[in-house]
């Protein structure tokens, strides 16, 4: 397996399963700033449609102006929400953070969550994941529906936009249709970063790992794989990359981050974590890591003060940010609008 050339990507979850959710912005701001001080790529914030705590995308929008470089990746549920709203909210997170937005695509499969909306019954994972893939697809098209230079402000003709560079997406999926174009001009990253957790546990017992992997393989920029050992992580990565090739994606596929539960009882632990990450990365089983801290308030300072310096010493983590957008941190190119490409090709 070829060694990745980019140093490992590193992300951290701001929430933890056993910790009650907080409603105050100061809590999240402090954690995100600490992660930014540690020059991590991004923070994630989980969410569940019927879950406790504030809306994750709202929280990360709230802290965006209080941070400068760190990527902001909320979980967004696609099952009982409108794809158009999902797309515009994530695009707007990219605007207010000046190019630091991503989103973790999630679904809702429980009857309890369906009852909160009352529109339809809960559906099996394979079905809602197939729909989630369509939501990710249409979100990308809506982000592309304004070409980058659609706004022209041409005083001579009185035209604010060049409507040849605005596009109806005319998307018809199995569960919904969207006419388009977006109301939000193309966001700074072109397309905010799409993340899929391929071994997620959110939403109850997961009976749809294959459906998750298919969406990740087809649509994700970053896939998160929960793994306890490097062999499991490596196997999942190989599987994902093979599936991505089957979808016709370019070599490189999604970046695969091993998502690890982390509990830092002591600064010894923090050094051990650096060694473990270095070891897994050297084996080529992951493109980086997503750390799920047992208690972020306790563990994140230990991570930043203990683990981060050791990773930097080994050349496994930047000393300062070179880029300003999440795509730049991750080494992902800024995609061109599919509509701009089609128009160019037709010329």
């Amino acid at each position: 397996m070829p060694e990745p050339h980019h140093p490992p990507r590193l992300a951290v979850a701001l929430d933890a399963p056993g910790v009650p959710p907080r409603h105050d912005a100061a809590h999240y701001t402090a954690l995100a700033r600490l992660a930014e001080h540690g020059t991590l790529d991004f923070v994630t914030l989980g969410d569940r449609f019927g879950g406790p705590g504030p809306d994750a995308l709202a929280v990360l929008a709230r802290i965006a102006p209080d941070t400068e470089r760190i990527g902001l990746v909320p979980t967004v549920t696609t099952t009982h929400t409108e794809p158009f709203h999902v797309s515009t909210a994530v695009a707007t997170l990219d605007w207010v953070s000046r190019g630091r937005a991503g989103w973790t695509v999630e679904v809702s499969t429980t009857e309890a969550e369906a009852a909160l909306v009352g529109l339809r019954k809960a559906a099996p994972p394979a079905e809602v994941w197939s729909e989630a893939g369509e939501v990710a697809d249409v979100a990308g098209r809506l982000w592309d529906s304004w070409e980058d230079d659609a706004e022209i402000r041409d005083r001579a003709t009185g035209r604010f936009v060049d409507r040849a560079k605005l596009h109806h997406v005319d998307f018809t999926g199995r569960a919904f249709s969207v006419r388009g174009p977006s109301i939000v001009p193309r966001p700074p990253q072109g397309r905010p970063v799409t993340v899929v957790e391929v071994t997620g546990e959110t939403g109850g017992p997961d009976r749809g790992p294959s459906a998750r992997r298919e969406v990740a393989a087809a649509r994700a920029d970053v896939a998160l794989v929960r793994a306890e050992d490097p062999q499991t992580a490596g196997a999942a990565r190989a599987d994902l990359l093979a599936r991505a090739r089957a979808h016709g994606r370019a070599p490189g596929g999604p970046l695969v981050l091993a998502s690890l539960p982390v509990e830092l009882e002591s600064s010894g632990d923090a050094a051990g974590l650096a060694a473990l990450l270095g070891d897994w990365f050297a084996q080529g089983v992951a493109d980086g890591f997503h750390l799920r801290l047992a208690d972020p308030v306790r563990d994140l300072p230990r991570l930043v003060e203990g683990t981060v310096p050791l990773l930097r010493e080994r050349g496994l983590l930047r000393r300062s940010y070179e880029g300003t957008t999440l795509r730049e941190h991750l080494g992902l190119p800024r995609p061109a609008s599919i509509y701009a490409l089609a128009r160019e090709a037709a010329r």
């Binding site: 701001t29 449609f49 929008a61 009185g158 109301i183």
Partner: protein, 456 residues
């Protein structure tokens, strides 16, 4: 003249981020720049602000907070307007998603209320109640929701729910939507487990628990815009603020009296609902200068292309061969013609056309001049002193409780008002010099809603 025995009413002020229509002057000729440049100066052309960059929103919100305004207001768009089947390209197009921008603005302001327009047609009560409760928490009690409904299938083409909403159902759905949101907000955990909500109505069925703790304001402030009898009744029953278009003194007083007299039937006091017309303003060092500037702004807002397009919206037929500087067409409107989508439909095109033609003949106006004359005008035009006096009189004579100001430039259009008019309102004792509370409800003088006692 005997002194009025009543205490002087305080003027409530809000700032509307310039909308995506031809009120916004995007071409920004230098003559339209604010007369008072912001401290530190601006480089030429800097008022050519982006309508999408977050910096524009920060500038306007901070300016409003500097002026001790009650709240910042965002409209909503869910589909780009079209004309003759093509995307409209003459006005500012494109805007960010409302709640995400407001959450971000909460980080760069401290006291300013944050009001967002969100349709009750293409969202569900549980989801939206959760998003507004989140904003209320994350802003420390500054959230407001301008509840609107959408009836056109054109907008519906972007949504799962699809097309349409019967016009007659708009307010029953909005009322049930709001009642459901209230039930959810009241059920959130506040030092105890959440209460179960079980709502089964005509439009919604919501069963389960609301996971967001009771928010600082209990219920975010509710704003309603709408002028029909049903709209006024809905506002009287459930809204905290009405956003009206009645910016003339006579129409304003009639509207004010009509809405306020509806309140007792709902056990509410007149001061429980604030009436705030959306208004524009133009300032000058002299009245003549302000009037001249107002005319020039109107000319910028109604370009020759925009004049023809406005005419086509009334006539319902292609008029592109007409000269905008020539006379109005003598053909009659097509009553079934529908060229514009995503705009409010004109109820009786023939009556509008007759009125416009009569005006054009009487005054010898061209197409463009007629459109300028008939489609909106500046509400307050004058010197800072005359505008402050006029606004004060408007409020003290019960034509309004305050104003939602709509500047014509982004993002610096509010600057001259805050720098030149606000101090005069403060001198008159009708506008706060400092915030006294931290929540939007406290700015508006509205009581916090009581949390209903547990029934179980």
């Amino acid at each position: 003249m005997s002194p009025d025995p009543r205490p002087r009413k305080q003027i409530h002020l809000a700032a509307h981020f310039p909308g995506v229509n031809n009120t916004t002057v995007w071409a920004d000729p230098p003559t339209l720049r604010p007369t008072t440049a912001p401290a530190g100066g601006t480089s030429p052309g800097s008022a050519l602000g982006s309508q999408i960059d977050f910096a524009s929103f920060v500038h306007l919100a901070r300016t409003a907070e500097r002026g001790r305004f009650d709240f910042f207001f965002l409209a909503e768009g869910l589909r780009l307007r079209e004309h003759k089947g093509r995307i409209h390209d003459l006005d500012v197009l494109g805007r960010p998603e409302t709640l995400t921008v407001l959450n971000a603005l909460a980080a760069v302001t401290e006291r300013l209320g944050l009001a967002g327009t969100v349709s009750a047609t293409f969202n569900e009560p549980y989801e939206l109640a959760r998003r507004f409760a989140s904003l209320d928490h994350l802003s420390g009690g500054r959230a407001a929701w301008n509840i609107v409904t959408t009836s056109d299938a054109f907008t519906g083409e972007n949504f799962r729910r699809g097309g349409y909403l019967d016009h007659a159902d708009r307010y029953t759905r909005a009322a049930e939507f709001l009642a459901t949101a209230h039930a959810l907000w009241d059920s959130g955990p506040a030092g105890g487990p959440p209460r179960r909500v079980d709502h089964r109505g005509r439009h919604f069925a919501v069963r389960g628990e609301f996971g967001v703790a009771r928010s600082p304001q209990g219920h975010p402030v509710v704003i309603q815009a709408g002028d029909s009898a049903e709209g006024r009744e809905f506002a009287a029953s459930a809204a905290d603020v009405i956003f009206t278009r009645h910016s003339g003194p006579e129409a304003g007083r009639a509207f004010y009296a009509d809405v306020k007299r509806r309140l007792p039937a709902y056990g509410r006091r007149p001061e429980d609902l604030k009436i705030m017309p959306g208004v524009t303003f133009v300032l000058g060092d002299t009245l003549a200068e302000a009037q001249e500037r107002a005319v020039e702004i109107r000319r910028q807002q109604v370009s020759p292309q925009t004049a023809l397009l406005t005419l086509e919206q009334v006539w319902g037929v292609d008029l592109s061969s007409y000269d905008p500087d020539g006379p109005l067409p003598d053909i009659d409107p097509d009553p079934h013609g529908e060229l514009a989508q995503g705009r409010v439909r004109i109820a009786d095109p023939q009556a509008v056309a007759d009125r416009w033609r009569a005006l054009s003949r009487a005054k010898g106006l061209s197409i463009r001049e007629t459109v300028i004359e008939t489609t909106g005008r500046q509400s307050f035009v004058g010197t800072p002193d005359s505008v402050a006096r006029e606004m004060d009189h408007f409020v003290q004579s019960d034509a309004a409780d305050g104003f939602i100001l709509v500047p014509h430039l982004t993002p610096e259009g509010l600057d001259p008002f805050v720098e030149r008019v606000v101090p005069l309102l403060q001198e008159r004792g009708v506008h706060r010099t400092e915030y006294t509370g931290t929540t939007l409800r406290s700015h508006l003088g509205l009581p916090d809603p009581a949390r209903p006692a547990r029934k179980d």
